[in-house]
Homo-oligomer: 433 residues x 2
């Protein structure tokens, strides 16, 4: 393989992994660099935060996934610089030469300039985020169980989720079910009416990208789950024991809460800045990297950006959503281009990337979901959408064993409503008692 | 329940939990205080360290276990003081009055006066210890994969386990299998002969509490697993990249290794000191609390100490081993005494605690174990002992769901040798690259 085409892929998320796997039979040398040794199935991360699943259930070691792919090596490392002239990617200790570079570094939280909020309002992007949120949620009930002051107990049991996109809505639903389960079974001494889950959304609607009838269903499902939805409410302050939400031009509401979870803004991975500086392109909205129709950076036909980091657009000029299917289709598209290039296929420059939207879905508690499916954009809701969600997510989990174990855990949870992974695994909850 | 007998149990390990559960039908008010919100099945903790199991597979929330026990409440808290005159136990924020106190706070690592070793040689007592060790083991292979210097690569792949008791032996076996699996499948570029697992034991034999024929079997099993056994070797220095082992009166051996795991000494929980100071008794060997034949502290007939924290003795004056069955039998015994006391049974002071040794066992890799079983002390080894180990451990895991999931994970691992939970979940491994 000495003289073959070298492809370096940065990031083993949905986009990077799909690209690497699509290159399996292409005569290239692939190096996949990631800061973590595993691929994370992020759509189920909120279930780790609510104790339904363990991290290992939705994370698969990259080396295990790519074991049988002879032309791909996996490197654990943090990319620190990219030299686009020498065509070299550098981590702390190593450097990797490329003929084609694919950057799929994803996104991270954005607190819209209020980085000081991160301490009180953790977001949900990594396994550590999820276990930290799980610890905080479970510790809140323990604190409430010992608290004799009614007002402080209420604040301990008030959960504010900022952002009513898919993550916020799914988390609110799961948290409501966990909370009611805990109050019914583990904390019979606490009056269930003392628990409040508030879902704050600066926009007008939850899941605003969905068609109107499904938004209505979402509102109904949240209401059934006793989630208080505050739309048109922009969070202006976050403190350890309260937040302030702007509800009108001059009106503000103060919410006493010790538990704030951030599900609002995302921004490009810090690698976006490194890439912008090396290539001279200007970062787009939220730090994303503008790409051409073939997903390459203007002026750099051998550097592609895919997934959340790319500011890609649809044919009609709309920005593509930050979803796993977009990233995966982009990864396969770029792999196809590389294949044509190394095979000397003249079509290589012709076909722009086009996102084929097969639908999207969000689950809102037990037996309830909303979904838009297929090219005709059928709308599903309720039990049928929930079944579809279940089936599709199970099938998409990367390894068969994880699929089996998630199925058992879900089956158990939906029959008994019990959750297996209700562990407080750092001392935070105890020491802050 | 206003005026009923109040039992405070400190610690939700094997002893404390058994005591609480045995009090289920006794007309007392039980308060179980633990620093953690879960009961941990410690005998399988080493399998979390080697990525076979997830923490949630072997940890069950205490509130879930005790859910149907109406006379027991669970408190998450760290006991800071005990007032034996007022009969009050205090945590940071609360105080709990008792008529009978049962202290079952367990043990922690002892570095024999070398607390500075803790940083380089983590022990295996908590879920966090186990995931930290898992991170270090997996990161070591990642470091080796990128290391071009042969000597440094060898040091990255040398694992030293200090102490060849059951934990050390079981961990060495599991680590050897994990390592060989990884080298065969995930790191084909590394020569398997570069990995070394050294098991250092200051005493003469591994598993020295076992009968001689089983010790011989243990040596054979370790040798088959390519574990280098250094008996009669006392560790005298531990540094980030090497350790020194005293192998004779004047002879020392330096081992280059970046991975040291401590499985040697334990000492009583810090609560032992608090208890000794409050009661005026003197701590015994390793900080344990001396108890009378009824497990109470001399002069304090209403304070019992059970489990690893108690310096209890058998009828013939031998110290009882620090094993789960001892703690559980002690917990039940104390519950029986409390029951007799509240029922006004005059026999209460008569019968001393007697440990019924039903046997002990240790697994040494796939298909191999040693066991001493039953009152006749039958010796088992090999495949049959391994099956017995499997069956008994599965049956003893606290919740049915965990039993099922552990069974599936084990079945999978033993068929495919693959391990599910090979996640590096902090950045340590990456940043130290």
């Amino acid at each position: 393989m000495g003289g073959s085409h070298r492809v370096v892929i940065v990031g083993g998320g949905f986009g990077g992994l799909a690209c690497a796997q699509a290159l399996k039979k292409v005569p290239v040398e692939v190096t996949l660099i990631d800061r973590r040794n595993f691929h994370l199935f992020q759509p189920l991360l909120y279930q780790v935060a609510t104790g339904d699943l363990s991290p290992a259930n939705i994370a698969s070691p990259l080396r295990a996934i790519l074991r049988h792919q002879k032309n791909c090596r996996v490197v654990l490392g943090n990319v620190e610089s990219i030299d686009v002239h020498e065509q070299v990617v550098r981590t702390a200790g190593e450097s990797f030469s490329y003929d084609t570079l694919v950057v799929a570094a994803g996104s991270t939280h954005s607190y819209f300039g209020h980085d000081e909020w991160a301490e009180f309002a953790p977001g949900l992007k990594t396994v550590e985020d999820a276990t930290q949120i799980r610890n905080r949620i479970l510790a809140a009930f323990e604190v409430a169980a010992l608290e004799t002051d009614a007002e402080r107990r209420r604040a301990a049991l008030t959960f504010a989720i900022i952002g009513a996109g898919p993550t916020g809505v799914e988390l609110a639903g799961a948290l409501s079910e966990l909370g009611h389960y805990l109050l019914r079974n583990d904390f019979p001494g606490i009056d269930p009416s003392e628990m409040t889950i508030v879902l704050c959304e600066a926009g007008k609607e939850p899941l605003e990208m969905y068609p109107e009838p499904l938004i209505k269903k979402t509102r109904e499902a949240l209401s059934r789950l006793h989630v208080r939805l505050m739309t048109g409410g922009m969070v202006t302050e976050i403190h350890p024991n309260h937040i302030v939400v702007q509800t009108g031009k001059e009106s503000f509401e103060t919410l006493k809460t010790c538990n704030v979870i951030w599900a609002a803004g995302v921004q490009a991975s810090p690698l976006g800045k490194i890439l912008a500086e090396s290539t001279g392109v200007e970062q787009a909205r939220a730090g994303k990297i503008p790409v051409q129709h073939d997903l390459s950076i203007p002026g750099y036909p051998n550097i592609y950006v895919i997934g959340d980091l790319a500011a890609a657009k649809s044919k009609d000029g709309q920005p593509l959503p930050a979803l796993a299917p977009v990233a995966m289709q982009q990864g396969k598209y770029v792999a196809g281009r590389i294949s044509k290039l190394v095979h000397g296929d003249p079509e290589v420059t012709d076909k722009p990337f086009e996102y084929r939207d097969r639908g999207s879905m969000a689950v809102i508690g037990r037996y309830s979901a909303v979904a838009v499916v297929g090219p005709k954009k059928w709308q599903l809701s309720g039990w049928l959408a929930w079944l579809a969600w279940l089936f599709i997510h199970l099938m998409e989990i990367t390894q068969f064993r994880n699929r089996l174990i998630v199925l058992i855990q879900w089956g158990w949870t939906y029959w008994t409503r019990d959750r297996s992974a209700r562990l407080i695994t750092n001392r935070e909850g105890v020491d802050s008692n």
